[in-house]
């Protein structure tokens, strides 16, 4: 093992390898797959999942889990849609409010989880029910958005040459990604998240701010989910209270396939990006094919999940075996 190839980077490389192989196979089978346009669209089409998965990465790295994000995405989407449409608000304060609410919601969940030592699974399960219900309280049906601000945003494109462009949704996704990478690698908060997931008891004894980190990570995820909800309104031009069911599972799958251990402490935001791209690649390939059906996506993701979890187990086993032979 050397500096670049060690127990932490190996899963990442494996994920990258899978992505390359998948994309390569798809490119060989489908005409027009290996184009800049398709690659750029991967980012735009999966922006909502991507932003959610990035937030989820932090939660999972800290050793927790958050089942509420699908519902939060739906809630913020309908909130923004209802404020802008029937409510007559300007989109910007509506989006701002939605994001703040998302953050507060996550904060609340984190608070319950930390100070009462409740299992994150159950608390965020309750959060999921709650947010979904609230989404339907706001509106029972889909609400369309028509506003000049939205038109402006939707017209924004970053041309990459040829027919490849990155619309606003993709740009926001990439922005979140860059910020997340920066936070995870270069801020004490990010490093504390890794420490908390690696060994919570040691983190406490080392004097790290465990409470702040844990609560903060859920608040951060709330903000990400809310932002994803906003992006969703851009993508669909509406807010639908029934959307996003099962989104949390897709996010968790993307995070795990991206090399992050569900137990916490190990993983990279970059890996999550790769996981999301794998998702998107399989999805696009299925669309291109026309013959294969959408459920293959589920089976493929499930299989990849299994393989990666087994891979991670093996890597972990070897990593710890080095230090303690014979135990």
């Amino acid at each position: 093992m050397n500096r670049w190839l060690n127990h932490r980077t190996l899963p990442l490389l494996a994920t990258f390898g899978v992505l390359v192989i998948l994309y390569g196979v798809a490119s060989m089978r489908y005409e027009g797959f290996f184009t800049g346009r398709v690659m750029a669209n991967l980012f735009a089409d999966n922006a909502v999942l991507g932003i959610c998965a990035i937030g989820m990465t932090f939660v999972i790295l800290s050793g927790g889990i958050d089942l509420s994000i699908g519902s939060v995405v739906a809630f913020t989407a309908v909130l923004v849609a209802s404020l802008v449409g029937p409510g007559g608000w300007h989109p910007v304060p509506a989006m701002g409010l939605a994001i703040v609410l998302g953050g507060l919601f996550g904060l609340g969940q984190g608070w319950l989880i930390h100070y009462f030592a409740l299992p994150p699974f159950l608390v965020t399960l309750g959060g999921m029910f709650f947010a979904r219900g609230m989404a339907f309280v706001v509106t029972k049906e889909s609400v369309g958005i028509h506003h000049s601000f939205y038109d402006m945003l939707l017209s924004m494109h970053l041309g990459l040459g040829g027919r490849a462009t990155l619309p606003a949704t993709a740009l926001i996704f990439l922005l979140v990604l860059v910020v997340a990478v920066g936070v995870s690698h270069f801020t004490t908060f990010g490093r504390n998240v890794y420490a908390l997931g690696g060994n919570p008891e040691s983190a406490r004894l080392m004097g790290l701010p465990v409470a702040g980190t844990r609560v903060g990570v859920y608040a951060l995820n709330g903000v990400c989910s809310a932002l994803a909800g906003v992006v969703n309104t851009l993508y669909t031009g509406s807010g639908n209270p029934a959307m996003g069911m099962g989104l949390e599972l897709d996010a968790i799958a993307a995070v795990v396939i991206g090399g992050t251990l569900l137990a916490g402490g190990v993983g990279f935001v970059e890996g999550t990006l790769l996981g999301v791209l794998i998702f998107g690649t399989i999805h696009s390939a299925l669309l291109f094919d026309g013959r294969l059906n959408s459920w293959w996506l589920r089976i493929a993701i499930g299989t990849l999940l299994l393989l990666f979890i087994l891979l991670q187990k093996e890597i972990t086993r070897r990593a710890t075996a080095q230090a303690r032979p014979g135990t």
Partner: protein, 356 residues
């Protein structure tokens, strides 16, 4: 504390009462565990008594019992079945997220065997349940033999299982009209919906399995302290595989009922989010998520609670989609009640009676 050397042949004159406890005392403890969910259900029913006219109205038409209460029993049957299986998994210290997907697989397999292969219905049921048991055992193997976290292991099937079900039906919704199959979810038996009979049977069988054999004891011991159980020679790994297989089977039964309800297999929609309802029912019913002591009755009551909640709100004119909100409140409340921290903070320590 007596200082003289104790004589083992002396009768236990000094201790209060006898050490052998009449079965009544043990039953007391069991009732205590389901107290809260029972109370909550009672409160809800009371609410309906005052505010929902006709809630308790029962009538007999064509020899069948009809009424809101009957509807609750009928519609809640799937959740009850899932909850029964989930109870055992949670008692072992794990959780099974894949039951919704297993429901989809069961429904799809049954629909195909009934329409395309035209097998006799009882055979179909047998094959489907065996399949579900096998799938569940697979989950159990991942947890017990490979040491995977239960959330992770069952997550895989949760994601992929629906895809497998859709693969079986080729993405279609398969309809059927085999009378036996339709009867499963829609028929009546002895005046009550057949689903109630199914639930009662499964509950009875599970109770027999756990209380008439040592499986219940082994399960509670494994969930309470796995190391100690292992040191005692309890087959902890076999127990774990068994409970996941069982949960899978219960999900299979629920899946057959779900398919029967709509006379079709709809793999993309069936059982969606139901695993979460099942977990909710178990937790609210009094079984701790950390494992150990479990109560099947509590889980069934928990499932009834959910269904009653949903029905109550529907009757009050609230759109069913808002039902999750009070559910969430109840879940968090239940967790808080179970949380040790809260308990030690709020309750006055009871003095230990009789112990040194």
């Amino acid at each position: 504390m007596s200082g003289s050397t104790p004589n083992k042949t002396e009768p236990a004159a000094r201790r209060d009462g006898g050490a052998s406890v009449p079965a009544g005392r043990a039953r007391d403890a069991a009732w205590r565990r389901v107290l809260w969910p029972l109370l909550s259900l009672g409160v809800l029913l009371l609410f309906n008594l005052f505010f929902a006219p006709g809630f308790f109205h029962l009538e007999i038409k064509d020899g069948h019992l009809y009424g809101t209460l009957v509807d609750i029993l009928n519609q809640g049957s799937k959740t009850m079945l899932l909850a029964i299986g989930m109870t055992l998994v949670i008692a072992s210290g794990g959780v099974d997220l894949s039951v919704g997907s297993i429901m989809a697989i069961a429904g799809a397999a049954a629909a195909i065997l009934v329409t395309q292969a035209a097998w006799p219905f009882l055979l179909v049921v047998g094959v489907c349940l065996a399949l579900c048991a096998l799938i569940g055992a697979g989950n159990g193997a991942l947890v017990a033999l490979l040491g995977m976290q239960p959330i992770v292991a069952t997550l895989i099937l949760m994601v992929a299982g629906r895809g497998v079900a859709m693969l079986l039906t080729d993405g279609q919704i398969i309809t059927f009209d085999r009378p036996a199959f339709v009867f499963l979810g829609n028929g009546h038996f002895l005046g009550v919906p057949f689903t109630a009979t199914i639930v009662a049977t499964v509950l009875a069988l599970t109770t027999l399995l756990t209380r008439r054999t040592a499986v219940g004891l082994f399960l509670e011991a494994t969930g309470d302290n796995e190391t100690a159980s292992r040191f005692c020679g309890v087959p902890t790994r076999a127990i774990k595989v068994l409970v996941y297989a069982f949960s899978g089977t219960c999900a299979g039964v629920a899946g057959l009922i779900a398919a029967s309800n709509i006379k079709a297999a709809d793999p993309s929609r069936v059982g969606e989010m139901m695993e979460l309802d099942a977990i909710f029912a178990v937790v609210v019913g009094g079984t701790a998520l950390t494992g150990g002591r479990f109560t099947l009755a509590g889980s069934v009551i928990g499932a009834l609670l959910i269904q009653t909640l949903t029905t109550t709100m529907y009757n009050l004119g609230m759109p069913p989609a808002i039902a999750p909100v009070p559910k969430a409140v109840v879940v968090v409340l239940a967790c808080l009640l179970q949380s040790d921290k809260l308990r030690s903070g709020l309750r006055i320590r009871r003095t230990r009676g009789g112990a040194a």
